[in-house]
């Protein structure tokens, strides 16, 4: 927290949009006035508009494409990257030069996020950028927009909170912080998006939230954004007579969101049009159709009396009237594709379908294979069956096959549609009913689009000790793989043991060491460890060695790497070290190797070694 900061600023660095919100810390106490900053951005060459959202897109223009000076911003005559609305607009017609969903790449195993790999399917001579520098470009734009608006209170001197998906692994968190640091926002802290949504709900209730939840409640936060679905469980407990909130579990990183829904609708309508006309639609027509479907979907959801919405695809030439194709999106199609397709009526025992990946893995993002959000939800709740067992008074019913939430908080634009949110609640409650559990209630009053940015700004205010804070710590326990001491068996890879280095729920600002497990590191050589995380093993302490574990208990992350600089020592010398894990105030996990010999010398262990497989 920077001293003398005037504002607490929340940055929602979303997969499809960025939003920036702030609270004046100098305002009178008990008064939280949250404001969303309008972000000036190019909307087309030579045109600048203020908008509440900055689309998270980067466009890499050809040098002949845009006239000199047409990309000027109020703070820069020639910005390095084209981001925001202009990127999305230009990219819709030239997708080979568009970088989208950079954030999802940050959490993509097996990819070096600092290598220029995006756009993934661009031809050779398009200059590429890394997912890291794309994220950096958005932060830089937001910073400049802020500094342009508040020249007296530069963003570098304010309290900044950046939100990340709860499912982000340590490496992706580290990258987010590093991106912030590289644009001068080294003071930023991280906050999980579902937590931010809950903070926003608390702030909006103006103190009334204590009447809507009680001790023993388990709040399920369902955040369906443009590109990802994020799930979290937050328990309401009591400490010294006060209500306390503890985040007890987070879900996996599911690449499935509102954009998939629009695309699914567009493909349905496309098939219908092609059948009717006998002609194939071109890709630009599909794009126009996706756009039209999004608007038609919103209209149909908001106006229940409409049976269908006409859809038109205009011709590209100046002859508009003759060349316009017309069709319609019916309510039947909408509920078949969206409601049944994305929120199928399933049992609590159903699980997402996982098809074996085809041999050739394309260099794309690992999108969710099963579009059934309800199946992902069922899997999450079953996996987290014992998430609340540490709180004696709220242990799950004994015969429960999944964790029973008592309240639900929604976030994300998709759930603005009443049909979808009601369906989701109905399915969840049908599962609860089947196990004789009381129905979960919906927490109302959330601002589904801007809640994350607002909650993040409010978090800065909470960190000043002015409101209730959600406890949580790490949402997983972490392990390194060590070879077990047993005779080698020819033909078999040596057995691996998982050594716990960071327990579940480690709080920010705490550190744990493993003095009893010694490793010999070789100076001048890189040493790699296999690295694992578990979102369910809550009891493991630092130093616990696992010889075997359940199929879905441990999830392998990218390898971590230590390289010891020579620093006056002879290369090849072996230094005995032990490991230590700390959760920084920022919210990132930091692993270090500590020398057992020379007065606690420390070396940082890097997460960022994703180029492992080529």
């Amino acid at each position: 927290m920077s001293e003398g900061a005037r504002y607490s600023v929340g940055i929602d660095l979303g997969t499809t949009h960025c939003v920036m919100s702030y609270v004046d810390l100098h305002a009178d106490d008990d008064q939280v006035i949250l404001t969303v900053l309008s972000i000036p951005q190019l909307t087309g060459p030579g045109m600048i508009e203020d908008k509440a959202q900055l689309p998270s897109f980067t466009y890499l223009p050809h040098h002949a494409e845009i006239a000199e000076g047409a990309t000027a911003l109020p703070w820069s005559a020639k910005p390095e990257h084209l981001v925001g609305e202009i990127a999305r607009n230009l990219g819709s017609k030239t997708p080979i030069r568009l970088v989208a969903s950079a954030k999802s790449w940050l959490c993509h195993a097996g990819v070096d996020c600092k290598q220029a790999i995006l756009p993934a399917d661009a031809p050779e001579d398009v200059e590429r950028i890394s997912p890291f520098s794309a994220s950096k470009a958005y932060l830089q734009h937001l910073r400049d927009a802020w500094n342009h608006h508040f020249p007296e209170n530069r963003l570098e001197n304010q309290d900044v909170t950046i939100t990340v998906p709860a499912s982000f692994d340590p490496a992706a968190r580290e990258l987010s912080v590093e991106a912030a640091r590289s644009v001068g926002l080294g003071q930023s802290v991280l906050l999980e998006e579902p937590q931010a949504a809950l903070y926003s709900w608390i702030e909006k209730s103006e103190g009334d939230w204590r009447n809507h939840v009680q001790i023993g409640d388990v709040i399920l936060v369902i955040d369906i954004g443009g590109g990802t679905t994020d799930l979290s469980l937050i328990a309401v407990t009591e400490q010294e007579g006060n209500l306390q909130l503890t985040r007890v579990a987070v879900g996996d990183h599911i690449l499935l969101g509102g954009d998939n829904m629009d695309l699914a609708l567009a493909y349905t309508v496309k098939a219908k049009m092609e059948q009717e006309s006998g002609k194939r639609l071109e890709s630009w027509q599909l794009q126009a159709l996706t756009h039209g479907c999004r608007e038609a979907k919103e209209k149909l959801f908001n106006q229940p009396e409409l049976g269908s919405m006409p859809l038109v695809v205009a011709s590209r030439g100046s002859a508009l009237i003759g060349g316009t194709l017309r069709t319609e999106l019916t309510r039947d199609e909408l509920s078949r594709v969206l409601v049944d397709g994305f929120l199928p009526q399933v049992q609590a025992s159903d699980r997402p379908v996982v098809k074996p990946r085809t041999g050739l893995r394309s260099a794309g993002l690992p999108y969710a294979q099963d579009a059934g959000i309800t199946r992902h939800l069922a899997a999450f709740l079953a996996k987290q069956k014992d998430a609340t067992s540490e709180f004696s008074h709220m242990a799950n019913a004994e015969n429960a096959s999944f964790l029973h939430p008592t309240a639900v908080l929604f976030n994300g634009g998709v759930l603005k549609a009443g049909v979808l949110s009601e369906r989701l609640m109905a399915i969840l409650n049908s599962w609860l009913q089947a196990e004789q559990a009381p129905e979960a209630r919906l927490l109302h009053g959330a601002d589904l689009d801007l809640a994350v940015a607002r909650g993040a700004a409010y978090y800065g205010y909470v960190r000043k000790g002015k409101g209730v804070r959600i406890k949580g710590g790490t949402a997983a326990s972490y392990y390194v793989g060590v070879e077990s001491a047993m005779p080698a068996v020819p033909g078999l890879a040596p057995e691996i043991e998982a050594l716990c280095i960071a327990p579940f729920g480690m709080e920010e600002g705490s550190e744990q060491e493993l003095p009893n497990d010694e490793f010999g590191l070789i100076i001048g050589e890189q040493v790699r460890f296999r690295f694992f995380a578990s979102k369910t093993r809550r009891e493991d302490k630092v130093g616990t060695r696992l010889e075997s574990w359940g199929f879905d208990e441990l999830e392998e992350l990218d390898e971590i790497e230590i390289s010891l600089p020579e620093e006056g020592k002879a290369p090849g010398e072996i230094v005995p070290v032990h490991l230590s894990a700390a959760v920084t105030e920022v919210g990132t996990l930091e692993l270090r190797a500590i020398s057992n010999r020379d007065d606690d010398k420390r070396w940082k262990i890097e997460f960022d070694v994703r180029a492992g497989e080529d």
């Binding site: 909307t43 600048i48 100046s318 003759g322």
Partner: protein
């Protein structure tokens, strides 16, 4: 025919008593004419000065005079700004071009208007009109905040008190008497409460309202 010819070049060669009498009569007649004309003019002037005096006490005619005065004011406003509007004109030109460009981009406005609709069926025009309508709605909502001038329902009776804003409310029909005026709200009116037109970079050619598109 010679008897009727009048030769204007002829000059009297003799100057006799007959001619002297003729000249004297002409002079006397001219003098009488001048006197009569002067007296008529003076009389008219007096009549003009005297005319308003008896009209003043009738109240019916007063508003009419006010209206005349208003018209005079308006004319003055038009005449007044002489050198400054040059800059204003420049600004509005860019803004108009910008609006046109936005409507074309979002709603294909120019394409639609420039096309000859007579060759197409109503269904075809209808399909295209949807593009235009959806786009115009988007462009309008994004860049303007519109609110009705009057909050009353159209068709209801409204009363305008003295000192109402004549620019915001236009009176039509039987405009007589004095405020408060009471009448039927025919159109609720529109006003722009917020305007968010894009800013333009230096050197942006606003006259290109839609760039030609070349696909490679």
């Amino acid at each position: 025919m010679n008897t009727y010819t009048i030769d204007l070049n002829l000059q009297p060669t003799t100057f006799d008593l007959w001619h002297v009498c003729l000249a004297g009569t002409v002079a006397v007649l001219a003098l009488i004419l001048i006197v009569v004309l002067i007296s008529v003019l003076l009389g008219l002037r007096r009549c003009k000065k005297a005319a308003p005096a008896p009209v003043v006490p009738t109240p019916m005619l007063q508003p009419e005079i006010k209206i005349v005065e208003k018209i005079v004011e308006v004319e003055k406003i038009v005449q007044a700004p002489a050198p400054e509007p040059v800059i204003l004109k420049e600004a509005t030109q860019d803004a108009a071009l910008q609006l046109l460009s936005l409507l074309q981009k979002e709603a294909r406005f120019i394409d639609f208007i420039k096309e000859d609709v007579s060759a197409f069926s109503d269904t075809e025009i209808g399909a295209a009109a949807r593009v235009v309508h959806q786009g115009c709605t988007k462009a309008l909502n994004e860049h303007f905040t519109l609110a009705p001038v009057s909050q009353d329902l159209e068709g209801s009776r409204v009363t305008l008190n003295k000192g109402f804003d004549a620019a915001a409310f236009r009176l039509t029909g039987n405009i007589v008497g004095e405020a408060p005026f009471s009448g039927t709200l025919v159109h609720k009116g529109w006003q722009v409460t917020d305007l968010r037109l894009p800013k333009l970079t230096e050197g942006h050619n606003a006259k290109i309202v839609a760039a030609a598109e070349v696909e490679l």
